[in-house]
Symmetry: C2
Subunit: 412 residues, 2 copies
């Protein structure tokens, strides 16, 4: 079977056009969910879907669907990503998956490919989490409740309900966006890697076989604040020294209990009283740990707890922590992984199996259907930044891999 | 020669009376230099000096002197400390040295002790550094300039000049407070230890043989902020890991290059961007190191520079630092140290030679005259806190050691 090709110039123009919506001079994109720029991008996308002669459908969660061959009976093969961005974002995170999805449907339609299953390309609502992570895909997977919608607020305290009402939308309608699992045959998302692995190894496609889960703790060591001049080293109960010791143990803990995919990060540290001439009596810090295997994550949580507890005991400190967040790792569907891998081999593309360290809508979608992801390289691993970049050649390759994957999954 | 004794009930009453000036309910003392409470305390002290029939003298830096046997010709033996406090202070830091000095002069006068040298008890201006550390003793030692007085401001931006003018004082007069070295025979200060050493060892008197100097750096490691999920451990340039490694090397650096008196403290750490899910690209931190020997301090500065530089090189980071402050260590006068030690032996007081880790007016005064310090225990080492406490028995012992030291230094 010869491979299909997308219309690269048309895709490129869409990417360039969308990248002007919500742009601030030299600061990147500001297209946070239900901001004016997000609404403008939504309107632009709906027009593009209608221009293409595809069926437009907006569900109760304001997810925008382009549909091809939809009959309301057969399960669909769905692709897509999100239009919304973090503040100061690049032009590809999310947008790439939405626009390549649209382009794939246009190609399948133009080339009159016979379909076993209808195709849907979706732009999910609020993936970046202005009001809570991945609201659109959560709605489709039935993970929202009236309570969660009522209480959803952004960092400035704006309620999701009010932000949607401003555009004539009723947030409670998100409860009606839920899809029956048997209405979906598969889901696949094209996304930039947002990490340095493909770029460093000069590979063009990442075949995602799993999406990492994580636990995120807010922890603290509590000792005693003392005068840094008058308190001998042996009489100190220095809370920062304890965090530093824990930090130094991270490599050992990962090597003993983790996998090659494990990462652990102390990204936030706050010392009290926080003066140069006072021994820190209290050190608050975040610990975030990720892996693709739930059992490995559990082993790491135990190992970190033991290490912190031993450090606190040895240094005569108190130690506490709260769980700020947990996300279960998800495996991608082995059939989809094999399909993408076969295509890359046939098309002569340098690729690798890898995992996603970041969370994506695919993680949610995998709870109700077989799911997979395709990564293209991020220059220097940069993302959530105006300097986000992927070579146009890699975008074209990624779009063609997606197109042919959709054809294998949905084509007759 | 029998030992003299102070009037403990009179001293205790003075301490209790002064401790009510500037007190905020459950928050300790707020008697910052040239605050209304500081002025009230100054007026109270001047009245106590006049009540005692001692000669009152206020110099251009607003240092308040009580004088006994003053003739303007012979050099004086001076004792004293400061009335001003940090915000939320205890009742003894500074006040103890001022009030025991006053009590000693009253006793010497009442008991008609013959004097080789006049006695002065002084309350120095702004030891705690609202407008700059130890302004009063710096004025006496000729360390102020018109520029330093003009530019002195508190944290809220209030100028020293304006704060003094509010009470009819001209800050420029501080330049006239300078004393000729030959106008002083010796200086000795009684102070609470502000550290845990005497209390832990159940000793009653610390004979201070040196005052630590210090260097204080503002330093930073600069790496790269990356997504904590998508950046493998081996591809990170984590600035916090570098600070943590440095912290872990502190014991080795002190053991290899320091003395038993060396201390090093990382009291402030700030990570950027400072989010749980981002590898810290930048870590700002303070490093403060103290010792009593200038050569040891220099060796420690070199060792810390080498360690930071090696850590930065190993982790592919940039490393910078600025010197925020430096203070030269000062030795106490061996004659005064021996006098205090002999007195403690004769009086049967459990004492130890020790250094002061904190800075004091004595540090400044030692630049123009022989100087010494006497420490009494601080309960649990607490200071700069409303819970500062020294047993009344120890205060009485300390005051008696000071009285007899003054008698040995100034008595006929």
């Amino acid at each position: 079977m010869p491979h299909l090709s997308i219309d690269f110039q048309r895709l490129k123009q869409d990417i360039v056009d969308l990248s002007s919506i919500g742009r601030r001079e030299n600061q990147g994109l500001y297209r946070m969910a239900f901001s004016a720029a997000d609404i403008q991008a939504r309107q632009w996308l709906q027009q593009r879907i209608e221009d293409a002669g595809l069926q437009l459908y907006v569900d109760g969660a304001a997810n925008i669907h382009a549909r091809l061959g939809w009959d309301g009976e057969r399960p669909s093969v769905m692709t897509g990503s999100h239009l919304d961005t973090v503040p100061g974002a690049g032009h590809l995170d999310g947008a790439l998956g939405v626009l390549t999805g649209l382009e794939c449907l246009r190609c399948m339609q133009e080339q009159q490919i016979a379909l076993r299953f209808p195709l849907e390309s979706v732009a999910f609502t609020d993936e970046e989490g202005r009001f809570g992570d991945m609201i659109g895909s959560q709605a489709i997977c039935g993970q929202l409740t009236p309570e969660s919608l009522h209480s959803a607020r952004d960092l400035a305290g704006v309620r999701l309900i009010d932000a949607m009402a401003e555009y004539g939308l009723d947030a409670m309608d998100a409860l009606h966006a839920q899809r029956r699992p048997d209405s979906l045959h598969a889901f696949i998302e094209l996304h930039i890697e947002q990490g340095p692995v493909l770029d460093r190894q000069q590979l063009h496609i990442g075949i995602v076989d799993a999406i990492a889960g994580l636990f995120k703790w807010q922890a603290r060591f509590i000792g005693e604040a003392n005068h840094a001049g008058t308190t001998p080293m042996t009489m100190r109960r220095d809370a920062f020294q304890a965090v530093a010791e824990l930090s130094g143990e991270i490599p050992r803990i990962l090597e003993e209990n983790g996998s090659i995919r494990s990462v652990a990060t102390i990204g936030r540290v706050e010392l009290s009283p926080g003066a140069a001439n006072v021994v820190p009596g209290r050190a608050e810090f975040s610990l975030e740990v990720r892996d693709t295997d739930p059992l490995v994550l559990e082993a790491l949580a135990n190992a970190f707890r033991r290490a912190m507890s031993a450090i606190a005991r040895r240094r005569d400190l108190m130690f506490e922590f709260e769980v700020l967040g947990e996300l279960t790792p998800r495996k991608c569907d082995p059939g989809i992984v094999d399909t993408v891998a076969s295509l890359c081999r046939e098309m002569g593309i340098n690729s690798t199996h890898m995992h996603s360290g970041a969370a994506h809508d695919t993680q949610i979608m995998s709870t109700i259907t077989r799911a997979g992801m395709i990564f293209v390289p991020s220059k220097d691993g940069r993302s959530h930044s105006a300097s986000e970049w992927t070579a146009w050649e890699d975008i074209e390759l990624g779009a063609n891999v997606l197109l042919n994957t959709l054809n294998r999954l949905a084509g007759a």
